[in-house]
Amino acid sequence: MDQDFQIEQRAGSTPPVVTVRGEIDVATAPQLRECLHNVIAQGEGSIVLDLLGVTFLDSTALGVLVGALKRCRESGGELYVVVADPRIVKIFEITGLTSVFTIVDSLESVGAA
């Protein structure tokens, strides 16, 4: 069911860029959680999370992002969320998370192009 879900970490970029494509829901969110935890465990303070290719995102995914944000900030870093699709931005807006996350609409905005 999650054949369209892809997640990858771009090698050599600082801060590290994690790119996700497809649908992030209760079935795929654990893969995202594991990936972000691994990146944080490598000692990276900040992460750029590229969600430009994400077509669906639910509360489970938001919970994973909130958890990763807390871990990043505990280590003095930040989780930058890159999102441009109005449908995805809307989910952050209606849950009040636009004021919690640092949300940008392009990788260039965080110097990660």
Partner: protein
């Protein structure tokens, strides 16, 4: 003028039942999209319903031992509205609570508040039930 024959009318009901597994909730979203389109909802409302029904399923599963249950989804076309009822059947109580479940439920409730006109949930006789109702052109936000 082309006559459409796939339109759903008030009183029509569609039911779907599947094992209560997270990876199958996508089925509920797909069916909701198809039914909502046939009930006359526009593309933005259809996207709202797709997300809302996924959250409805998550709320129904919360706190249960869903591995032993089924999710029963009932979609009712009621005039200019659609009502979706999600029931978890034959599941027990979860022995190990999910640490992120409470936060997830709070986010689910916020999403439903914003996207549909009415929603609610209840647990009774060992089964959990959640429902929503959304009108066409209602602009719940």
């Amino acid at each position: 003028m082309t006559e459409t024959t796939d339109r759903l009318e008030s009183g029509d009901r569609i039911e779907l039942k599947f094992p209560a597994r997270g990876d199958l909730i996508v089925l509920a979203r797909l069916v909701t999209s198809a039914i909502s389109a046939r009930a006359g909802f526009d593309i933005e409302e259809l996207e709202d319903l797709r997300l809302a029904v996924g959250e409805l399923c998550l709320l129904t599963l919360q706190g249960s031992d869903a591995q032993h249950g089924d999710l029963h989804l009932e979609l009712n076309v009621l005039g200019d509205a659609i009502e979706v009822v999600c029931t978890l059947e034959r599941a027990g109580v979860a022995t190990v609570p999910e640490p992120e479940a409470e936060e997830g439920a709070r986010l689910s409730e916020q999403i439903l508040d914003a996207l549909v006109d009415e929603h609610g949930r209840e647990s009774r006789d060992g089964s959990a039930r959640a429902w929503l109702r959304k009108r066409r052109g209602g602009h719940a936000e």
